[in-house]
């Protein structure tokens, strides 16, 4: 096991640059998730890390070895693919033992390690089947098994759960986490699903258009998003964004929200005065009933999930942003969503009082999208 150091990796295809100076230090035994919308460069980064694609520039070290131009097989890593990439012509046993065989491990040792891994994953009864005789979940386990049998320096996982159905995905997610706790192998996990990132990662690397947006633990990522993109990507439903104008008032900064002058939770208030800002408010930080800042709305739609309700409200015209960033739902521009826990069942179409705590607000520079604290 070893740490991994990625230093200023870039990748371009002709004129198209898909990675722009990606740098990341991963500690030994750490579980790092690369997350972002499709086309953000996360899968390309993983392939470069595996040696399946060539970096245009930059270096990669695993442990203290420079592996930048080393063959994939010489890097001592194992990879789990989105489509599992099990060898269809080999039995499960030989699928799992293939990497060891290629490395010249003797047959007895291979058998022992395959049997151990199979036991850990509960697939010992499947060892003599061909991949096509397995269910999706079983194939996924075999793919994991093929990786852990190798006892590599690091696991690379490319969206390994995206072909499973929702229920199995949640289950396997927990299993991979447990496996990581048990084996403590450095893991780099790529996904487009922020829930997977939040639940599994020690650290999340969030990417967009080949650029790292923020590197942080799930907790920090949620509480202190570095910019509008991160704020909108992490959390479900995504953060509500309201356009506003900051004003100086007695040492602090305020913005007019729903007709109230609301004090913004920022340290450097002076620099903010008169600036166009975007105020972010998470749906779960809106409560039913009166509170510190209350406002009355007529819900457009109420979705009830039993224990919680999503209340959709038309955003007042003055709070709507002109454009939404790429990948964001256009409908979110004009809607405010409140997520109410254990709500009072009320008839739709009636007015409703909602409230929030101004300390929960996030403030972003409208022009640059960067967070202001």
């Amino acid at each position: 096991m070893a740490g991994i150091r990625i230093d200023s990796i870039t990748k371009s295809y002709g004129g198209l640059t898909v990675l722009k100076g990606f740098s990341l230090d991963i500690a030994d035994g750490e579980f790092v998730v690369l997350v972002g919308p499709s086309g953000c460069g996360k899968s390309t980064m993983l392939k470069i890390l595996a040696g399946l694609e060539e970096a245009s520039s930059g270096t990669i070290s695993i442990g203290d070895r420079n592996v930048t131009d080393l063959a994939p097989g010489d890097r001592d890593i194992a990879m789990v693919f989105q489509n599992y990439a099990l060898y269809p012509h080999l039995s499960v046993r030989r699928n799992m033992g293939f990497g060891l065989k290629m490395r010249g491990t003797d047959a007895g040792e291979i058998d022992r390690r395959v049997a151990d891994a199979a036991k850990i994953l509960g697939i010992d009864h499947l060892l003599d089947r061909r991949p096509r005789a397995l269910s999706g979940g079983q194939r996924q386990r075999v793919a994991l098994g093929r990786a852990i049998v190798r006892e590599p320096q690091a696991f690379l996982m490319d969206e390994p759960l995206s072909n499973l159905d929702a229920k199995l995905r949640v289950h396997t997610r927990a299993e991979i986490s447990a496996l990581h706790k048990r084996l403590r192998v450095t893991t780099i996990y790529v996904t487009h699903d922020q829930t997977e990132a939040m639940t599994m990662a020690d650290r999340i690397v969030i990417m967009k258009d080949g650029v790292i947006q923020q590197i942080a633990s799930p907790e920090v990522m949620f509480r202190k998003p570095a910019n509008l993109f991160v704020a909108g990507f992490i959390g479900s439903p995504g953060m509500n964004f309201l356009k506003a104008k900051a004003q100086a008032s007695g040492g602090g900064a305020t913005a007019k929200l729903f007709g109230h002058d609301v004090v913004l939770p920022v340290a450097n208030a002076d620099a903010l005065a008169g600036k166009e800002i975007v105020v972010g408010l998470r749906p779960e930080h809106i409560a039913a009933g009166p509170g510190q800042i209350s406002f009355t709305v007529t819900p457009r739609l109420i979705e009830s999930l039993g224990s919680e309700q999503y209340v959709y409200v038309d955003l007042p015209e003055e709070h709507r942003r002109e454009t939404v960033s790429a990948g964001e739902d256009e409908a979110r521009r004009s809607a405010l969503i409140a997520r109410l826990i254990n709500p009072e069942p009320g008839p739709p179409g009636e007015t409703l009082t909602l409230s929030f705590d101004p300390a929960r607000l996030h403030v972003f520079d409208a022009a640059s999208g960067e967070a202001i604290r």
């Binding site: 097989g73 099990l86 290629m102």
Partner: protein
């Protein structure tokens, strides 16, 4: 319900009638082969011989060098297919997996080469083979058939490799294979049905050739291919249609068998279990 029954009856009638008409020439070939030559001169013709002479095949094999011709055809086809397959497996794999400068133009050239008329290439090849003293030798048609087969097999194999997920060889490379090792240990075994189908297709192309054999082998009776032999039988001053038909059946049989096999093999893909 009644409409559906009418529709079905019409459908069956249509299918049976169409098949009967289209397959009739093949049926007539068989009838002719099994009839006594004298019966063939009777009008009205009989649509099934009174006493099928099943011995006709043994008889023409004994009387004519059919086995020699078939053997030559087989040798030429196997030689041409072997050369073509080696070359096109490598090239098809490269075209499918590597985005190389020049690779695409090569692919396009090969595609165009598929459309070249044999009557154009046969002239310079005749000159070249004359200089190499290959005229009359089976090597002449082995090489000439390779010009027919390579464009087809390269594109068929590229298409087949395209259907195999790249992740398979990526996994093999992460597992420690070299790129060539990944191809040999993973991609080629999975491609076995595709390789077989492609090779059989190449075999059909070679087996069906007449132009090259006619040009290069006419003066070398011992190297005549089946198609060439058949046409000389047809050219004899009294055509014995019964014998010719029997010989024709023997010549068509391998291709018919391949057709039945190809139908089945092209459909099933071994990669079905590799994904999702």
């Amino acid at each position: 319900m009644k409409r559906k029954a009418t529709r079905n009856a019409l459908l069956y009638a249509g299918v049976v009638l169409t098949c009967a008409i289209l397959v009739f020439p093949i049926y007539w070939l068989i009838v002719t082969a099994l009839s006594e030559p004298s019966q063939l001169r009777q009008l009205p013709p009989s649509f099934w011989p009174a006493e099928p002479r099943w011995g006709v095949f043994g008889q023409i094999i004994a009387e004519r060098p059919i086995l020699l011709w078939l053997g030559n055809s087989a040798l030429a086809a196997i030689g041409a297919v072997a050369i073509s397959m080696v070359v096109s497996v490598l090239a098809g794999y490269s075209l499918s997996r590597f985005k190389l400068r020049g690779g695409q133009s090569l692919g396009l050239f090969i595609l165009t080469a598929k459309m070249l008329p044999a009557t154009l290439l046969v002239i310079p090849l005749f000159g070249i083979f004359r200089s190499l003293e290959l005229i009359g030798s089976l090597w002449s048609i082995i090489l000439a058939h390779a010009t027919l087969i390579i464009p087809f097999t390269t594109w068929m194999l590229k298409g087949y490799f395209d259907t195999i997920p790249r992740e398979l060889e990526q996994a093999a490379m992460v597992d420690g294979c070299s790129p060539l090792g990944a191809m040999v240990r993973v991609i080629l075994p999975i491609s076995a049905p595709g390789l077989a189908a492609t090779a059989l297709y190449g075999f059909v192309l070679s087996w069906s050739d007449y132009a090259y054999a006619r040009t290069f082998l006419t003066n070398a009776q011992g190297n005549w291919t089946a198609n060439l032999g058949i046409t000389t039988m047809k050219g004899e001053y009294i055509s014995n249609w019964s014998d010719i038909s029997a010989a024709s059946i023997l010549v068509a049989l391998p291709i018919l068998a391949i057709y039945l096999v190809l139908e089945r093999y092209l459909v099933g893909g071994l990669t079905a279990g590799a994904e999702k």
